[in-house]
Amino acid sequence: MEIILQNVTKRFDKVIAVNDFTTTIEGGKLSALLGPSGCGKSTLLYVLSGITPLTSGKIFFDNVDVSDLEPEKRGIGLVFQNYALYPHLTVKQNISFPLQIQKVAKEEIEQRVSEMAKLVHISELMDRKPSQLSGGQQQRVAIARAMVKRPRLLLLDEPLSNLDARLRLEMREEIRRIQLETKVTTIFVTHDQEEAMSISDQIILMKSGIMQQIAPPQSMYEDPKNVFVADFLGNPQINKVYGKIIHEQFVLRDSDTTCDHEKFKGIANESNVILSLRPESIDLATNNDMIAFNAKIVDIYQMGKERLVYLAFDEHLLRAYIDIDHQLNIDDIIPITLKDRGVFVFDESTEERLR
């Protein structure tokens, strides 16, 4: 099911939680609603569910205006952060609940519930109460209960935040598997960029209620629209230095240290810019490489297959992944080359991408 948001705005008294949101979310995909905490991503999810009424704007599900439709009529499944299982009902009764409310015939309930239980791998827990389940199992039950209605849209609010690290990895793959098997349009909220990158088909990145970019994870990573997007994705964080373009050369602010790269060509003279460098875009220059600048090695962290090196670029500390084959020592001054990928130039005042 395709979801179209038109100027969707939600205001709480003076706070604008979701600000003039316009986008189209493709059907049948797993989309991540990503952003720092308090950016309005959960609010947007509840606006989509209908629990939180809109202040203004319109929402369409497959070209049908649902902006004023009651939550129960939207055909959605919602999994809450705390799972919200009914504590007095068994797993089976929990999953049956939505069907019983809809007065579905008994045999059909039986069949659909056991189908769902099989899908989320909880068939052997059917007679337990929620309090007798682990976090991961409760999560599965909550997903089953949301899915048993055969919703057109599945919404998950921070589905992994209450789980420990190992379970989180397991459950995020489970969510991916269930989504792929059922092909249900799914939107999940997360503040963890790695989580969003690893399982989603597309990421909707938000900041203070405003949409920053919507794109598949890899292309958002490689092609960020503005400084915030570049900063938010990637671990370790992207390196960021401020400066000016002078005669197609980057000059660090309050310094005469320069940096050379193909990408600076064609940028107007004297522009104030932000240069963002992904750690993996920084490498030791060899043979014919264009030398961007020279840097001193401050620290080296060997981490198995890769090596994180801290470089002093004038007064700035840069994080870089440098090929393990090169012999490096602390305090060496090495020539640095910048790859094409992962080097971004942003306008300093608008924070929009220039190159």
């Binding site: 629990i51 939550p71 129960e72 919602l78 919200a84 009914y86 504590p87 007095h88 609940f97 409310i101």
Partner: protein, 274 residues
């Protein structure tokens, strides 16, 4: 070691003494119910009757229509408890889950009403009942006791502790407010509801002052009233009075024994929370 045993001895002695003080009246009532008239007045007192007088019970029933009183008590208690429970659940829902303007102000005002002592209400209630022409009818014992601010307060607090996400979850599952109340909230609040039910039953069953004011005719007496009247009716037949008391107390004792855990739990929980 020695000090501990000494402490234990002191504690147990005190507890046993306390227990005797609590149990003694019941024991005295029970044993007197089986005594002959002479035995009840004998000095030194006779603890155990020499020949249990089972006939006392039959005689007591002959003196006054205790079966009628019992039926009246049952009608009044069941009606009170059922109606109070329904109004309490609905009010607690309205004051916790539903959102409406002035909700909390209204609730605070209702709590303030709890300050008004029952004795003050008796006069106005009596007037209302008289104006409605209900004096000396069982309805007069039912209508003024179909709602309770105190029970509403207890249940509302419990309802408040149920997370919002359950409500929204049920909404999305297609449940109406009504369905959510009865299918989710009430089952979750079962311990609280049982406590309220039991407390209300005991209060209603033992209620004495109000019935004494509004009921005159013999046929409309409840058990406590009947017992009170029996003191004059049975004259000096102390053993018959005790037999009648025993019959009245037994249902409550049985109820308490069955539901002891719920009562203690409910009161203990309410105490901790409050």
């Amino acid at each position: 070691m020695k000090k501990q045993t000494l402490n234990k001895i002191i504690i147990y002695t005190l507890l046993i003494l306390g227990g005797i003080v609590m149990i003694f009246p019941f024991f005295w009532m029970f044993s007197s119910a089986f005594k002959t008239a002479a035995e009840t007045a004998s000095f030194p007192p006779k603890w155990i009757p020499s020949i249990p007088q089972f006939l006392n019970f039959a005689k007591a029933l002959d003196y006054a229509p205790f079966d009628r009183y019992l039926i009246n008590s049952l009608i009044v208690t069941i009606a009170n408890v059922t109606l109070t429970m329904i109004s309490t659940i609905l009010a607690a829902f309205a004051f916790s889950r539903l959102k409406w303007k002035g909700r909390d102000t209204v609730f605070t005002l209702m709590l303030a009403l709890m300050m008004v002592p029952f004795e003050m209400l008796v006069i106005t209630n009596f007037q209302t009942i008289a104006n409605w022409g209900l004096s000396d009818r069982l309805l007069a014992l039912i209508i003024p006791f179909t709602a309770s601010i105190f029970y509403t307060f207890i249940l509302r607090n419990f309802f408040m502790s149920i997370p919002d996400s359950l409500y929204y979850s049920a909404k999305i599952d297609g449940a109406s407010n009504w369905q959510y109340l009865w299918k989710v909230m009430v089952p979750i609040a079962k311990p609280s509801i049982i406590t309220i039910l039991l407390l209300n039953t005991i209060v209603s069953w033992n209620s004495f002052m109000w019935p004494l004011l509004v009921i005159n005719s013999r046929g409309n007496r409840t058990l406590p009233l009947g017992l009170y009247a029996f003191i004059t009716e049975a004259g000096t037949h102390f053993e018959l009075l005790m037999a009648a008391s025993t019959m009245i107390v037994i249902p409550i004792i049985i109820l308490f024994l069955i539901a002891r855990k719920s009562i203690v739990n409910g009161v203990a929980r309410g105490g901790l929370k409050g």
